[in-house]
Symmetry: C2
Amino acid sequence: MTDTTPLPVARTIADLRAHVSDWRRQGFTVGFVPTMGALHEGHLTLVREAVRRADKVVASVFVNPTQFAAHEDLGTYPRQEAQDAALLAGARCHLLYAPSVEEMYPAGATTTISVGGPAEGLEGAFRPQMFGGVALVVSKLFNQVRPDLAVFGEKDWQQLMVIRRLVRDLDIPVEVVGSPTERDGHGLALSSRNAYLSPVELETARRLNGILAEAGVRASDGVVAAEAWASEALIAAGFDGIDYVAIRKADDLSPFEGAIDAPARILAAAKIGRTRLIDNMAV
Amino acid sequence: MTDTTPLPVARTIADLRAHVSDWRRQGFTVGFVPTMGALHEGHLTLVREAVRRADKVVASVFVNPTQFAAHEDLGTYPRQEAQDAALLAGARCHLLYAPSVEEMYPAGATTTISVGGPAEGLEGAFRPQMFGGVALVVSKLFNQVRPDLAVFGEKDWQQLMVIRRLVRDLDIPVEVVGSPTERDGHGLALSSRNAYLSPVELETARRLNGILAEAGVRASDGVVAAEAWASEALIAAGFDGIDYVAIRKADDLSPFEGAIDAPARILAAAKIGRTRLIDNMAV
């Protein structure tokens, strides 16, 4: 059961800053959890982590158009603000920040950010606009909220590495906290896009995590062979297409030249019908 | 005569932040003046403006390599920190921030910023790396210093417009203050690069301001004709080459389609020998 205490909502930068300034005057630290809404237990874990680490917590709900390509699911991405607000209140969040697209991107804006490094390849290859859009909106949100710390899920591991690089390269004074992936009882990483899956597709989706885990074990005998094995196993399990299965250096996501000689991560993106799922874990 | 009271110098981000945090705890506002050193009266005017507007003022001296192209004057750009520190102390600056290149750009950095809009054309066409370099270093410096306001000279008008756009597009909570161009008794805009000029070249350089002023008057009879007249007049005055003379909209530096129907600025870049000078003024 979630607490349904009404949560204050800020819809403008000015209103958001008024809340945060008031907290700062009282000496409170501020944590921040940026989301695209359609909240599930994975997001609430991030909020609870922020609540543990900071006195006051802002969660944003903003379906960021700059990180979707024209053919992607911007229009159908689930939006359910009232339910999100109730869930955030139950997780002891202090403020919901839900700006309009016009508030975030006024007419005439032209600035773009390219993170390079960890943003190249994998998701960056299949969704070329994504990490530029993420870097831009996170930079803006950090400047709007000015939190002490922000919590991101390891579910989007590459995004987490991109944000760490962005923060380091631009000297943004925000501590970036990564939080482990929440999974259902069958190992499926929680995702707002799981809502697109039919019961039969859900059975297939639940195989992803186990196949990546076994490929991670096989990686010690050869990275390329383990990646190929995982792709075949995913197709055999019922996936309709594999964007990538890759074993990479965990921090900058560069490929290994030969044997694994640094902390490694296996990452995958695969499709079931029209639904695209991602997952990753330490090797 | 300048006061030669020793000025505290911070060489690391950590040391800078310690100074600023101490001021913040005491409730002081903070102003910031970023420079590339080789300070002259133009810079000191910016510092005095910051001192008028904020309780404490940081000036940075950093010759930013990312805004120079390989063929430009990065290696020979004048460096004179002891003299700069004495001048800043005389202007009542409170802290000199002089980081090393390694402190500003640690190995492994990959993030870049493109401002677009006002960064396109004019200086952006002749020095394609410049405004990306400026946007990156100013973003970093703002995150390092976290000032309430920052003062920039109108001498670099296009840069000032680029920084205003950057700050607006990324929601950076810093007030950007433009300060009018300081000139010598003959109208020459003060510039660190004036030090490259021989006495004969100096005489030619001093004609730039008057020719732009007259072209501004002629602009009401036609923008293109006024630009062409100014280019010819500059060559006749002894300039060896004209990168551009352009009458543009003052805020976004876009060209006029026909008659001047918005606030306008005339901007020029011209060479005397190997020295490249820029200037601008309201039309």
